[in-house]
């Protein structure tokens, strides 16, 4: 639907002529031209179905036609010479009748409805001018359902626009939400009460034009849209870097909503991103510096003011020669860079696990040296063939998985031209294409959420998946290494995949890092490179582990494998750990041995879990949601995030702590950062150190940016109760908090104009109070934002590179007697550290378990309900087991949940049924 195929035509609206795009319908054209035309069932990402009849206009045959006919703008193409009237009295009256009909049964509960004040139905009601009730009967009522911890259901408010089911089924592939019944007795919900199963269920909140589906997490600390300060930010719960709005009031993070980015998230977010924000409000979040007075580990930490804590640290550091730094893939580029600057290149560890470190370097290498570019989510959506290697991406890069789900419609869509069907005619498109799907092949260790749209799937060990990829590459281009010992079945599949990819115009290879097997990443590169050799412009898309894995990798820290590089001398070094729970990344014994070498251990973080018992100093960092900085997403795009909460007392962004620590240390290197006061200064320094980062400062306008001399207000102009917010502390209204870091202000005051896209604090426009106001922020609906800064892509391919293929692919996976290969099974809820601390997410975290194919369970003689003792190098665990028919044989899947495992996987493991208690 978002294809930019501009074919300009002239249309006439209320007597004036305009240029419009022939590929779009009249509703889209009118909205793009800035007209206010109400609608419900049409959605820019879902097209038209003509159900609500709200977008009626009058169409005239020609200049002399004065009668005209009522048509639905969303169902009528913008054809050359089209003449319509929005203002026509009959059209207006019809539109207000539509509202009147919808209102027959809609409750008048706006004051108690969570949607009130940002309800598309309210807006459209006002827009059409329907004001008084003539219907005398009583209203229809329904029973509501419990839908889980994310979404509240209030069916009485439904206006039967069908958007929810269309999103849930047609876009997200969910099967447990539907429309039941008929006539004016329709029910939108599940067959029975129960948690919505789809990973994108939260979008119902935004897709529903009224208050049927609302954000349950918001309702736990409810505030009206107009009463929340809203800030543009970047989701930090995976590597995709979806753009979000974070809403806050009184220091409490209230909710996350989608912030449209035309190349990344478009209109939709995953549930981890939408509901994972509550880690910010976690009662145990670190908010005060703390110091352990004695070197004895058992002595408790005591809270101190920042100044005192730093003073104590000074006394411990003065005699020190060196600080060793541990970075973090969930901290900003700037904070990591600050750490690296302070501790120096040799003493800077990336802080990533050995596997993550290796994978990230590999991805960087592939994206810089090879000819295949990394693709944006939007490009993936438009891929006409796809190969996925590795894991179920819905758990590691959910928004990417959603894009891949859409991609299967691309190839069949090509038939539409012949049938004279426009892409926006959603129902007609679905009828004509009949669920035909373009090529999508998946090689994975277990069933994936995309299997239902896959052409074919392949199950095997990580090595076998890599071998499959390599063999496909070889089939496409014989210069890439050959794979021996393939079964005839495998060979046939490989030929089929190779043919599908090589005959596509825009194929993509998507690969997760979740299995821990580096060869899967290499295999993906081999496939994409082989395609390039054949002249096919293939893209690559990776799902690295965390929100800033690639950014951190660009700074080139050491891997934990190189721990021996720093010889601990008798005089122990200090260790500075930045936003990193090392227990998630290093196996405990190794970690403890390593930590032994250091004294003191300084931790900067906001997560209490991360406080190692060994930490001597703890400094509370502001999390990404509450700070300013940059992240590099999976495709190598730098994006800026801004703080959603005014500076909290005693808490500050990590790079400032690092600077403070530098100041109290005796390190030479401190001078390089001594006078950093703004991100812009850090950016300048980074640009100098790292040529690849030379444009980092352009990702968003700098802190000094103003519009007509004014900052951009985070609080909407209707923000209320400002003076009572601090009333418990003071009856005076304090100055609004200062925000020196950005062009945004924690205030209602500031420019009324639309800022450049990275700074848009909320989508709101006169008469458009709901998120549908987004139309008013786009050049054309569904396309680029006005003044869109897309972020800066750091890694562009070498188009002419004749990169060498990765050689010596691994041999076929061989079973071992009495052992299974233990592979990680990351989970959407639970595997990511921060979101797992959000209460709504916690309710959805599956139990940690070992997952086996039923045959393997039988072979091990496991009985239902029995626990399993898992032993692998560095790992001994007793876990429940589950069987899964889709699990590849010879493997044991380890379902990762908070505090998962810290040993490098895959690894050989011995499994034994635990003796019954």
């Amino acid at each position: 639907m978002t294809k930019a195929r501009n074919h300009s035509v002239t249309i006439h609206v209320d007597g004036r002529s305009f240029q419009a795009d022939a590929q779009r319908n009249l509703l889209e054209s009118c909205l793009s031209l800035g007209f206010n035309l109400p609608y419900f069932c049409w959605h820019p990402a879902m097209g038209s179905v003509g159900a609500c009849r709200q977008c009626a206009v009058k169409q005239f045959k020609d200049e002399s036609d004065t009668n005209g006919l009522i048509v639905m703008a969303c169902m009528t193409p913008s054809a050359e010479g089209t003449r319509i009237s929005i203002d026509d009295p009959e059209a207006r009256e019809f539109r207000s009748s539509v509202i009147e009909w919808l209102m027959l049964n809609h409750p008048h509960d706006c004051p108690v409805c969570d949607e009130g004040g940002e309800c598309h139905l309210q807006d459209m009601t006002v827009m059409t001018g329907h004001v008084s009730r003539r219907y005398r009967e009583s209203k229809r009522t329904y029973r509501n359902q419990y839908l889980g911890s994310f979404v509240t259901h209030e069916m009485n408010r439904c206006i039967q626009c069908y958007r929810c089911v269309r999103f849930y089924r047609d876009i997200a592939g969910g099967e447990d939400l539907n429309a039941f019944g008929s006539r004016d007795r329709l029910y939108f919900g599940r067959m029975q009460d129960g948690t919505l199963e789809n990973e994108f269920s939260g979008n119902l909140v935004e897709v529903c034009p009224t208050g049927v589906f609302t954000d349950k997490t918001l309702s736990h600390h409810y505030s009206r849209k107009w009463d929340m300060q809203s800030t543009p930010s970047i989701c930090s719960h995976c590597s995709v870097g979806c753009n979000v709005h974070l809403a806050e009031r009184a220091g409490i993070m209230r909710r996350v909503t989608n912030r449209y980015h035309s190349r990344i998230n478009g209109y939709f977010l995953c549930d981890r991103g939408r509901f994972g924000y509550e880690y910010v409000n976690h009662p145990q979040r670190l908010r005060r510096p703390a110091v352990r007075p004695s070197r004895e580990n058992s002595a408790p930490l005591i809270s101190l003011s920042p100044a005192e804590a730093l003073a104590r640290l000074r006394s411990r550091l003065s005699e020190r020669k060196r600080i060793v730094g541990v970075g973090s893939p969930r901290a900003s580029l700037e904070s990591n860079y600050a750490l690296r600057t302070l501790v120096g290149r040799e003493h800077f560890f990336s802080g990533m696990s050995i596997v993550e470190h290796r994978d990230a370097s590999l991805i960087l290498q592939i994206l810089t040296d090879g000819p295949a570019p990394s693709w944006s989510i939007q490009q993936v959506e438009q891929a006409d063939a796809a190969l996925i290697l590795g894991e179920d991406l819905v758990h590691t890069a959910p928004r990417l998985a959603l894009a891949l789900r859409q991609s299967v419609r691309e190839q069949p869509m090509e038939q539409l031209d012949g049938l004279n069907i426009h892409r926006w005619q959603d129902a007609a498109v679905r009828t004509a294409l009949q669920g035909q799907r373009g090529p999508l092949y998946i090689g994975s260790v277990a069933g994936t959420s995309l299997d239902d749209v896959a052409t074919r799937t392949f199950r095997g060990s990580p090595c076998d998946i890599a071998r499959l990829g390599c063999a496909v590459a070889h089939e496409i281009c014989h210069d890439s290494p050959r794979i021996s010992e393939l079964t005839s079945e495998e060979s046939a599949l490989i030929r089929e995949i190779a043919r599908a990819l090589a005959s596509a115009k825009r194929p993509v290879v998507a690969v997760g890092a979740g299995t821990g097997e580096a060869w899967i990443i290499k295999a993906a590169a081999n496939v994409a490179w082989a395609l390039h050799r054949r002249g096919v412009a293939a893209g690559l898309v990776f799902a690295p582990h965390e929100c800033n894995t690639l950014g951190l990798s660009l700074l080139g820290g050491n891997s934990f494998e190189q721990t021996t590089a720093i010889e601990g001398d008798r005089d122990r070094d200090a260790l500075l750990i930045l936003e990193n729970d090392l227990r998630r990344r290093l196996e405990t014994a190794t970690l403890n041995r390593w930590l032994e070498r250091f004294d003191p251990i300084i931790v900067i973080d906001h997560v209490d879990d991360a406080i190692l018992d060994q930490a001597g100093f703890v400094f509370p960092a502001s999390p990404i949601a509450c700070s300013d900085g940059s992240l590099v997403n999976h495709e190598g795009r730098v994006q800026r995030f801004f703080s959603a909460i005014a500076k909290e007392q005693d808490v500050q962004v990590s790079w400032r702590w690092i600077q403070d620590i530098g100041r109290v240390s005796s390190l030479e290197s401190f001078h390089a950062m001594a006078d950093w006061t703004s991100l812009e200064q850090i950016h300048a320094a980074m640009a100098e150190d790292f040529p690849v980062l030379r444009r980092i400062g352009e990702a968003a306008p700098p802190a000094q940016f103003r519009i007509a001399g004014q900052k951009i207000p985070r609080a909407p102009h209707r923000f209320s109760g400002r003076t009572v917010l601090p009333v418990l502390e003071t009856i005076h209204e304090p100055q609004p908090p200062h925000d020196p870091e950005s062009p945004l202000a924690f205030s209602m005051e500031g420019t009324p104009s639309q800022p450049p896209s990275p700074l848009v604090p909320f989508f709101w426009s006169s008469g458009w109070n709901s998120n549908e106001a987004l139309n008013k922020f786009q050049d054309e609906v569904g396309r680029s934002l006005h003044n869109e800064h897309l972020g800066i892509r750091l890694l562009e391919p070498q188009p002419d590179a004749r990169s060498r293929f990765f050689e010596n692919p691994p041999p076929r996976y061989e079973r071992r007697n009495n052992q299974l290969l233990l592979v990680p099974l990351p989970r959407l809820f639970g595997s990511e550290e921060l979101s797992a601390r959000a209460s709504a997410i916690q309710e959805q975290i599956p139990k940690a378990a070992v997952v086996l194919h039923p045959r393997e369970a039988d072979r091990l003689g496991l009985r239902k309900g029995q626990a399993v003792d898992v032993t692998a190098p560095g790992l001994t665990r007793r876990l429940p087991f589950e069987t899964d028919e889709t699990m590849a044989g010879g493997l044991a899947g380890l379902r990762l949940t908070p505090g998962g495992v810290s040993v490098p996987l895959p690894a050989w493991a011995t499994l034994k049924g635990a003796p019954s208690p």
Partner: protein, 433 residues
């Protein structure tokens, strides 16, 4: 009226079983397709049907030959193509398809073969309503007989043409009769009509070229092929060709269905065939073509019951099955019953139909129960306009508004009396015999 002027019904036995294959063949059945399959190209069949000027008998009266002409033909046309027989007859007042289905399934099958051959469809579905179990059984039996004689299946009569026919029994709901909703129903998808374009002829059942045809329409085809387009045109009395199954129900002496030359006058049907009004009842008005057609009054009794004449007075031939409103029945109650039907049978997809029709129904109920207000008439009027063609997603709600609109014209004083007298004037007299 001679027997050969009732080609569709002459072989139907009033209370007996339908003709068997042998009986039908003995009387010339399936002869037309033998000639067709050996001697005619699909284009020639299409031409013959176009020349015959046959118009659809399902309600809309679209010329059948013209409908077929939009189907892509030739070797590169998408395959398979489908023929769908609309046997969902649920329009209030209509029972003419049932007579043909129960009474003469082989005639329908022959019609199916002709239509399928003309568009080169390999597969046909008969979409039949659940309540017509007898018809479905009769059809199944006839299909079996035909298949066993090589009239259906692979390589029909050695012509190289293949055709399978299946009966699909539905599970209720009037909207399934709307041709595009029917296609969704047949596919097992949510039953919502489809927006046009694209038309079913191009993208129909499973996205393939499809025509949907009413039972009666198809039953005409064997006779057109057997006797030629010119003969067929000669059957009609006015501009339209052929015969039509006319029916009358209500307080007449002989409610029933008759095959008559299309264009027979209302009066002749009513008085001659239906035997006039019952003792003690007088004619007040009628819906000429089923529940979704506008009322005619005694001023229209001499109209010809054909497509053009009836549209010229703002009504429609529809299914050609008339419902009579007598003087002892409340017209408001009559319309209320109709609107209850339409409101209940809305699929729930588009707002005006889903929410507008129940409002109309409730307003009429309010009038009936004495709770009507003068402003209610404006609301009703407004619905008549705003539930009209183009405003709603399909023709269901516009069909529902046709009787209401004409009732507001013809029976305005009755509506007003309901408001003035705070209730239904007929309730006092009652409709009892």
């Amino acid at each position: 009226m001679t027997i050969d002027r009732r080609p569709l019904t002459e072989q139907i036995r009033r209370n007996g079983p339908p003709p068997t294959l042998c009986e039908y063949e003995d009387r010339g059945g399936y002869a037309a397709i033998r000639t067709m399959l050996t001697e005619m190209t699909p284009e020639e069949v299409q031409r013959e049907v176009t020349d015959s000027n046959l118009r659809g008998r399902g309600g809309a009266g679209f010329p059948t030959g013209k409908k077929w002409s939009f189907v892509p033909m030739g070797d590169d046309a998408p395959r398979p193509k489908y023929l769908v027989v609309n046997a969902d007859e649920m329009e209030p007042g209509s029972f003419k398809d049932r007579v043909l289905l129960e009474g003469h399934p082989h005639q329908l099958i022959e019609g199916i073969i002709i239509a399928a051959y003309a568009i080169q469809a390999e597969c046909a579905y008969i979409f039949i309503r659940w309540a017509y179990r007898r018809s479905a059984l009769a059809l199944e039996r006839a299909i079996r007989e035909a298949r066993e004689s090589g009239l259906l299946g692979h390589d029909l009569l050695g012509s190289g043409f293949n055709l399978t026919v299946h009966v699909h029994t539905s599970a209720g709901r009037y909207i399934c009769g709307e041709e595009t909703a029917l296609l969704n129903a047949l596919e097992g998808h949510p039953v919502i009509p489809r927006a046009k374009p694209p038309y079913p002829q191009v993208s129909g059942l499973w996205g393939k070229p499809t025509i949907v045809q009413n039972v009666e329409t198809l039953c005409n085809l064997p006779h057109i092929l057997a006797h030629g387009a010119e003969w067929y045109r000669g059957l009609g009395k006015g501009k339209d060709s052929g015969t039509k199954l006319y029916a009358v129900s209500g307080r007449v002496n002989r409610p029933g269905v008759w095959e008559l030359p299309i264009g027979t006058t209302v009066r002749e049907i009513l008085e001659h065939h239906a035997g006039g009004m019952q003792e003690g009842y007088a004619f007040r008005a009628m819906q000429p073509g089923g529940g979704s057609t506008a009322f005619l009054t005694d001023a229209h009794l001499d109209m010809a019951m054909d497509f053009e004449s009836l549209s010229s007075v703002g009504s429609r031939l529809g299914t050609g099955t008339a419902i009579i409103l007598d003087d002892r029945t409340c017209p408001v109650g009559f319309v209320r019953n109709l609107e209850h039907f339409f409101a209940q049978e809305s699929c729930g997809w588009c707002t005006p139909c889903r929410d507008g029709l129940p409002w109309v129904e409730r307003l009429l109920a309010a009038l009936d129960s004495g709770d009507g207000r003068p402003q209610d008439m404006d609301i009703l009027e407004r619905h008549v306009t705003f539930l009209g063609p183009g405003r709603t997603y399909c023709a269901h709600a516009p069909g529902a508004m046709e009787p209401l609109k004409s009732a507001l014209e013809h029976f305005r004083s009755d509506f007003d009396r309901h408001i003035d007298e705070r209730g239904c004037p007929w309730a006092k007299t009652g409709t009892d015999e």
